[in-house]
Amino acid sequence: MKYSLDFAALLDYWPVFLNGAWLTLKMTAVAVVVGVAVGTLVAFAKRSRYRLLSRACSAYIEVVRNTPFLVQIFLLYFGLASVGVRMPTFAAAVLAMIINIAAYAAEIIRAGLEAVPRGQIEAAECLGLSKWRIGWHVMLQPAIEKVYPALTGQFLLMMQASAMASQISAEELTAIANTVQSTTFRSLETYIVVAGLYLALSLIIKFATGLLGEYLFRRRRVLRKAAARSARLMVEPGQAKVASHGGAA
């Protein structure tokens, strides 16, 4: 029996799909913002002198990173329900995502913090800056700039993981796809359309994080490039002729 793809049947459902995409985006955005904040705290806590705190953070990170997100969602939602805590599915999904992304972000940010040369921290201490000021101005800012690509890559993975929230019937794009396909019986077409929407969401997130990166680090990057170009011509006067002939600055 030949099956023919019929996308026209889905046209009426466009607003429903778009709503689903919007919900996924919202879910991901909230989880990312809170998750990175929590992850930053965990990254610093893991470097703490108190062994108990440091060990607890390590344990948290390793458990989250070595168990499936689906199981984490089930544990959170059904587990809490079994002890009487009933959460709305959207909140439960976001909470699970926050716990998950905080662990990954903590590792990524910790690597960035460790890359800050000890000498700069000493210089900041000798200028009288408080521990908090050093953490923010001297350690975190350069660390975030360094690990920004890895961090934003993690955001994309998190958005895709949000599809698993459909398994606890949270309102997001995949759950809506499940509903639509059970109504229209056009399962293949529905999931192909939804795949396209996820792709579009990925592109949107890549674009947005790229733009944010340009804004946050733009001052530095643009000025650096422009000034480095002129500085190169200044510092090496003997080679200035070659530079202008060669062309590529």
């Binding site: 099956y3 070595n66 544990l75 059904f78 587990g79 994309l156 995949t174 796809a177 996820y198 792709l199």
Partner: protein, 217 residues
């Protein structure tokens, strides 16, 4: 309704790990083959092949595995193929893994210094010979940590096969939970089993990476 968790239940969970491992191995083996093909296409001197590989990687990396799983599963069923869920899951994961592994390996190959290519060229090696004898053997060393790291991701992702009914560890947990409803206990044990599988691999990957960093200093 609230039953008790017995040894039988524990054994049932334990044996389902076998299926998790089967699917993981299948996904990894097929995905590695596919990934190698993606790698070759991605670094091909022919622009159309490169472009095709880029589109493939970008598309697969842009959609959730769950959706890919549904597409393969429902795609197969509407076109008349009644295949077991293991096959559907295996196919979907093969596509998914090939895109990610191909991209990871491309990164490793591109990290090989250009002088290696030039030296081989001067020895009159063909492009394929250069790849086979010079570039890939060295790139393999660099690719071990991220590949093992991705194997951990694969094992975790097999949990999604539960959604299309494949009885691996997560599905086994759901089945038990549906009868005795003790989600906290059951999914903690399920999580612990996954942890036991994944944690050693994660550590191994980390250890290899540290060795590489020391060697490169």
């Amino acid at each position: 309704m609230f039953g008790s968790f017995t040894l039988t239940h524990l054994l049932y969970l334990f044996t389902s790990i076998g299926w998790t491992l089967v699917l993981s191995a299948l996904a990894f083996a097929l995905g590695a083959l596919g990934g190698f093909g993606v790698l070759l296409a991605r670094i091909s001197p022919r622009p159309w092949l490169r472009w095709l590989a880029v589109v493939y990687i970008e598309c697969i990396q842009g959609i959730p595995l769950l959706i890919l799983l549904f597409i393969v599963y429902f795609g197969l069923s509407v076109y008349g193929f009644q295949l077991p869920s293991l096959v559907a899951a295996g196919l979907a994961m093969m596509v998914y893994v090939s895109a990610y592994l191909g991209d990871i390996w491309r990164g490793c190959v591109e990290a090989m210094p250009k002088p290696q290519w030039e030296a081989a060229e001067c020895l009159a090696f063909s492009r394929w010979q250069t790849l086979r004898l010079v570039i890939i053997p060295q790139a393999v060393r660099l690719s071990l940590p991220p590949t093992v790291g991705f194997l951990v991701q694969i094992i975790k992702m097999t949990s999604l096969a539960s959604v299309i009914g494949f009885v691996e560890l997560t599905r086994a947990g759901q089945i038990i939970n549906n009868s005795i409803f003790q989600p906290f206990l059951i999914f903690s044990i399920v999580g612990a089993f996954y942890f036991a599988l994944c944690y050693p691999l994660s550590r191994w990957s980390e250890a290899m990476e540290n060795k590489l960093n020391v060697a490169n200093r």
